[in-house]
């Protein structure tokens, strides 16, 4: 697909998704601000925790705020803008990929861009605002923040598509995929330093919570090219793994023969 057509295709979908959100404006705003305040309450919890215990394994409240601003932004972008990454197992099991297969666009990309989730768009805004209000920012740090959030978004997406594609091979694995994404998010919202060495290895490989949370905080706190390189490799790796498993899995996909409107 040529560059302009590619961006035109994505832009067209996003405009349509945004129009759909505005059609149910009250619902959109309730979900958006609901999630925004939900994240705020989590940060309040951490503020209370660090008021009582100012430093835990080298982590301070400032680090936790940085972590939450990165994780919420990258998670919010991944699942707010590309919500179907989380719905992949459900779409496969219900045979709803037929719609995408019948059209002359890359199946995975088409699938990912075709649905917003209003709730998670609240996360996507919460992260940058948290950073803006509670961290000392320079232009370089701001650019680095954007870069690490984008890498985190690719890792979240790659991971969700990877575990979601397991459903092609295992059959009914919707619950498993949802649980694994939940586990990744849960680990990502805690400082990695509290875990044992063995678990930390796991968190930088199989369940990349360290890659989407701790490593970006380290990069913003104490920049070095090695860490940034590792993060970029992680992002490219997980995105490629997701695309590869999806492509392999698609060969095993059987049509749902559905006669219905796409949701």
């Amino acid at each position: 697909m040529a560059g302009s057509k590619f961006f035109g295709f994505i832009g067209g979908y996003w405009r349509a998704n945004w129009a759909a959100a505005m059609e149910y404006r009250a619902s959109f705003l309730m979900q958006f601000f609901g999630m925004f305040l939900n994240d705020g309450i989590w940060v309040l919890f951490w503020s209370l925790y660090f008021t009582r215990f100012p430093m835990v394994k080298g982590w301070t409240l400032q680090d936790l705020i940085m972590l939450w601003s990165i994780v919420t932004a990258s998670f919010g972008l991944a699942f707010g803008v590309f919500y179907n990454a989380a719905r992949l197992p459900e779409l496969v099991v219900q045979g709803q990929l037929d719609y995408y297969l019948a059209l002359p666009k890359p199946v995975l990309l088409h699938l990912l861009v075709s649905q917003f989730r209003f709730l998670n768009l609240g996360d996507a805004l919460f992260g940058p605002l948290l950073l803006l209000f509670f961290a000392k920012l320079t232009l370089v740090k701001l650019l680095l923040y954007i870069l690490v959030v984008l890498c985190g978004t690719f890792i979240f997406l790659g991971f969700a598509v990877t575990v979601g594609s397991l459903v092609f091979f295992l059959g009914q694995a919707e619950g498993l995929a949802g649980n694994l994404v939940g586990v990744l998010v849960h680990f990502a919202t805690y400082p990695t330093g509290i875990f044992s060495k063995g678990v930390r290895v796991l968190l930088f490989t199989l369940i990349p919570a360290g890659l989407v949370a701790t490593l970006p905080v380290q990069i913003l706190r104490d920049f070095n090219w090695g860490d940034l390189g590792l993060l970029v490799v992680g992002a490219v790796g997980f995105a490629s793994l997701g695309a590869l498993l999806f492509t392999l899995g698609l060969r095993r996909y059987e049509s749902g023969n559905l006669m219905m409107m796409r949701q």
Partner: protein, 267 residues
């Protein structure tokens, strides 16, 4: 109909719910593996915290702190998503169809909520307890405390029901209650001592949390489990009784206001 027959009717609703949900208890156990991760992460966080502070925080040892979270998580995981059920019934009009049935709408949901809750508790508590046992070992809970704790679980769940049902009934006025639920549920978590015992809050926040019902929905029942005493039982049950009266009166008021907006157009 006598009060005994009324009680039997709702007991039958609860028992039916238990039977119908029990079929899927194995699947629920598997889906609660996420709960195992939550408890494991709590163990790591509080182990790191204790390593920097000493053997006791707010009178709780590390195993007691972890079992406190086992109790709060078991309460949370045993709570059916009644707000969403009521929201759906209000929005698609099922509520109007239920008004002419020979039971109270809210009474039916209370009974079904408790029935469902029993199965969810059976699927959550063993998972959370197993992780706690493997990581920090057991704590001493006297045998005679177990029936009392089960009774407290029921009264605690009733408070949660009133809170969640009120949120669900907001669907009479709002297009979507999921945003309201997110905020109010997390508010309940923080103020109830779900994420951290209230005694660890700053004084000003402890005073606010102390005047709200949420501590009776998480913190106090969990504290009772890890440091059982009859004095605590009395204080907890009297506090819960007061808030049950207030919250169910509020719930009934919201329900009556909402039902006035229902239009029925024949069958």
């Amino acid at each position: 109909m006598g009060s005994r027959q009324v009680a039997l009717k709702y007991a039958a609703v609860g028992a039916t719910q238990v039977r119908s949900r029990w079929t899927y208890v194995g699947e629920r156990l598997l889906s609660n593996l996420f709960l195992a991760v939550i408890i494991y992460v709590f163990v790591q966080l509080w182990r790191a915290t204790y390593s920097g502070t000493g053997a006791s925080i707010d009178g709780l040892t590390l195993p007691q702190m972890i079992w406190y979270f086992v109790a709060t998580e078991a309460i949370q995981f045993s709570m059916p998503r009644v707000h969403s059920l009521i929201e759906t019934e209000v929005r698609n009009g099922d509520l109007a169809l239920r008004l002419n049935k020979p039971y109270q709408y809210l009474g039916f949901h209370v009974a079904a909520f408790l029935g469902d809750g029993v199965v969810q508790l059976a699927a959550a508590l063993p998972v959370a307890a197993a992780v706690a046992l493997l990581t920090v070992g057991p704590i001493a809970v006297p045998l005679y405390a177990i029936p009392v704790l089960l009774f407290v679980w029921v009264t605690t769940l009733l408070l949660h029901f009133a809170w969640a049902a009120m949120i669900g009934l907001c669907a009479f006025w709002l297009e979507d209650v999921s945003g309201v639920y997110l905020i109010l549920d997390k508010f309940k978590w923080v103020m109830g001592g779900f994420m951290m015992p209230i005694a660890l809050f700053p004084d000003w926040l402890q005073r606010i949390a102390g005047s709200l019902p949420f501590k009776y929905m998480f913190g106090e029942p969990a504290r009772l489990m890890v440091q059982f005493s009859w004095a605590k039982v009395g204080a907890l049950l009297s506090g819960q009784a007061l808030w049950l009266v207030i919250m169910f009166a509020l719930l009934y008021g919201v329900y009556r206001l909402g039902v006035r907006r229902v239009d029925s157009n024949g069958g």
